[in-house]
């Protein structure tokens, strides 16, 4: 009896494994179409709906190919998903990912070069040069951009009027940014800020709000040799400027959570273009929100993220994978994304049509044109953490700007040199 029970138990445990294996084998042998797995960064409903529609159209137009959609939230969820899939030798065929991923994943063999395909693609001369550069690494093209995510400066016109400021005029430089912020900040009797003059995050998964100001002060994070340059006078100046006023004019928040500007308790902020879209579509804020290129100290510039389509390192059908990429980057689809999702176009020939869609699109297009992305280096992810730490060290008064930057530079160099 015991023996039979034991055998039953073992069979019961093995049954799911056997069933899974047999089902997988059946799927691979019975289906003659080429199946491509697509994993995209970001899990927002609007963009997911768009991609599912596009994939449906593509599958219908290409009966021999079947693209399957999947996505993951920005940050660790996406990295965890990709790492798990590649570790199992089952990496996706097509990957939608950001600039930060390029160098590390190319070096890890997770992306295939697509230069040959690109050279014979109809849109090769139409893709914006700055955008194309984001997917290029060591003279090979790996990713083609489908979406740019510039950081824009947003302000509340009604609160400007209440404070006696010109509602149509955003601050033009850092001095105005600080003085407007102080004018727009309101506090209760206990000294607690009830209306933030300038919403700047106190913590972040990726402190690109700080990068926006660094780029606007003429700074960059790497030199011509691709070496990190954190400890430079422009960044000292940027940190000192920030530390001098943001704590006096802002309600603390994490950039991964709701920005007080979106919650209606801030008068100005730096924000991702897509994150601002729901507020702009909200009737309650109609005509009350303005957008502009962020105020700069030296160089008009902002941070601009970029999501690209890559052919995965494990992909056995790169021809079909690139066929899908080309389909997603046609002029029609680029403009559809602009209409449906408010995403700035990535093809030069579509800029005029994009601006004609909405008067605010001129600002968005300018932000993309003057946008700078994350470093394309194998140390990008480490840089992200160290940069986040250094901004917090200064905002929390733990270190002065010069010491924090010197330490950050030393830490990053040590991380790069580590075995």
């Amino acid at each position: 009896m015991k023996k039979r029970l034991s055998l039953l138990l073992i069979l019961g445990l093995l049954l799911p494994v056997l069933l899974t294996t047999s089902c997988q084998t059946a799927e691979q042998t019975s289906d003659k179409t080429v199946a491509l797995k697509f994993v995209r960064i970001g899990n927002d409903a609007a963009e997911a709906t768009y991609w599912k529609r596009l994939i449906g159209d593509f599958n219908q137009a290409n009966p021999g190919i079947k693209v399957e959609y999947d996505d993951a939230a920005i940050g660790e969820p996406m990295e965890t998903k990709l790492n798990s899939m590649f570790s199992a030798g089952l990496g996706p065929d097509i990957i939608g990912h950001g600039i930060l991923s390029v160098a590390a994943r190319v070096e890890a063999g997770h992306y295939q070069p697509i230069t040959t395909y690109f050279n014979s693609w109809e849109g090769k001369d139409d893709l914006m040069a700055a955008v194309l550069a984001n997917g290029t690494y060591k003279n090979e093209i790996y990713g083609l951009a489908y979406s740019t995510t510039p950081f824009i400066f947003a302000w509340r016109k009604d609160l400007f009027s209440d404070a006696g400021l010109d509602p149509e005029k955003a601050p033009q430089n850092w001095e105005e940014l600080e003085s407007f912020s102080r004018q727009l900040t309101k506090k209760d009797a206990a000294g607690q800020i009830t209306q933030s003059g300038f919403a700047f995050p106190r913590s972040a998964g990726n402190f690109v709000e700080f990068d926006t100001l660094v780029f606007g002060n003429g700074g960059l994070y790497y030199n011509d040799q691709g070496e990190p340059t954190l400890n430079t006078p422009d960044k000292v100046e940027t940190l000192e400027f920030l530390a001098g006023f943001v704590n006096d004019v802002g309600i603390p928040f994490n950039s991964n959570e709701t920005n007080p500007f979106i919650a209606g308790t801030a008068a100005m902020t730096l924000i991702n273009n897509v994150a601002l879209t729901p507020m702009l579509k909200n009737e309650a804020y109609a005509g009350k929100v303005g957008i502009a290129l962020p105020p700069a100290n030296k160089t008009p510039a902002t941070f601009s993220g970029c999501n690209m389509l890559f052919v995965g390192g494990d992909c056995k059908q790169p021809d079909e994978a690139f066929q899908f990429i080309a389909y997603a980057l046609t002029k029609e689809e680029v403009l559809t994304r602009a209409k449906e999702l408010g995403i700035p176009v990535t093809r030069q020939s579509q800029v005029d049509a994009f601006i004609a869609l909405d008067p605010m699109n001129a600002v968005r297009a300018e932000c993309v044109a003057k946008g700078v992305g994350m470093p394309r280096a194998t140390w990008s992810t480490t840089f992200q953490k160290i940069r986040n730490d250094l901004v917090q060290q200064v905002l929390y008064g733990k270190m002065n700007a010069a010491d924090a930057l010197a330490q950050a530079q030393a830490d990053l160099e040590a991380e790069i040199a580590a075995p």
Partner: protein, 312 residues
């Protein structure tokens, strides 16, 4: 039914040239086989793989043996050192209050009245929620701009606080959330232990004139000591593994004020791809938890043997 001769092996029996197993023994081994298969594949093998990975620079692209370099680096990694300190602070200031509040709550709800039944339900409620949900709820409560806590303070004319954005308050806030969530679990275990204490002991003490507190300290607490050691060990292990609320509520900030060992492992492995380095951190965490468990078990065992020797 045949009886085995005295002194014979119960499970092993000589069969021809080799040593065979009796049918009972084979059945027994087969019954424990699923567990040991699971243990070997999902516990022992990953444990050993983790240790060998900790001696390499595995980063998903390369894997080279680098000896103890990862361990040496840990000693100078400010974030990791801070995470070890934070984890110990979190564990110490969580386990103590949890043991105290859980025990007091168990004493209060020990009974069959309606109030006690309602009290048990209320106490256990936070424990059945997932830590992710609990963290999201407290995240909104602690929000400096629109959070309920600051609004409550303001209604009394008191100044608010930055809570999770305050370097000094962030870790105590996480500890508070943990104590709030897990007190019900401690209460439940303590309650089961309280109900197993023979009522005759309390009655005898009452007849001898012992007051309530005297009975709690001299009868209840010694009687439930094994359960207390079990709680001490399991709560300590849980605290050392804490991750969800750190990831959701603070992500280790501000300025590493709330980063824990598990959070550092996660960040190094999945944000930096440094699997070898993260594995070294995991080995350190394993050794810490192992030490705490051994110390707990030894201390518990020692006290038990003292009790037996003293005849109590």
């Amino acid at each position: 039914m045949k009886r085995r001769p005295a002194g014979s092996q119960p499970a092993l029996r000589r069969r021809g040239k080799g040593i065979g197993l009796t049918a009972d023994a084979r059945a027994a081994y087969l019954l424990i086989l699923p567990f040991f298969t699971f243990f070997l594949i999902f516990v022992l093998y990953p444990l050993l793989t983790n240790f060998t990975t900790s001696l390499t620079n595995e980063n998903l692209a390369t894997r080279t043996f680098i000896g103890l370099a990862n361990y040496r680096r840990l000693l100078t990694d400010r974030s990791f050192v801070r995470s070890v300190v934070n984890t110990f602070v979190y564990a110490i200031f969580s386990v103590g209050p949890l043991m105290l509040f859980g025990f007091v709550a168990a004493l209060l709800v020990d009974g069959s009245g309606r109030v006690q039944s309602a009290g048990r339900a209320v106490m256990i409620f936070p424990h059945v929620l997932s830590m992710v949900s609990v963290s999201m709820i407290w995240l909104y409560l602690f929000d400096p701009g629109s959070g309920l806590l600051n609004k409550l303070l303001a209604s009394f004319g008191l100044p608010g606080s930055d809570w999770l954005f305050d370097e000094k308050l962030a870790l105590p806030c996480l500890i508070l959330v943990n104590v709030w969530k897990s007190s019900g679990y401690v209460m439940m275990i303590d309650l089961a232990a309280l109900q197993s204490v023979p009522p005759s002991l309390h009655e005898a003490a009452r007849v001898d004139g012992a007051g309530y507190l005297s009975r709690v300290f001299h009868i209840t607490l010694p009687a439930i000591r094994p359960v207390s050691y079990f709680l001490l060990a399991t709560l300590s292990i849980e605290c050392f593994k804490t991750f969800e609320q750190v990831r959701i509520m603070t992500n280790g900030g501000p300025v590493d004020a709330t980063t824990t060992i598990t959070h550092q492992i996660y960040m190094r492995a999945f944000a930096d791809f440094k699997m070898g380095y993260a594995s070294a951190m995991s080995v350190v965490l394993f050794l810490i938890v192992l030490t705490i468990t051994i110390v707990n078990l030894r201390a518990g065992g020692q006290l038990e043997s003292d009790r037996h020797e003293a005849g109590t």
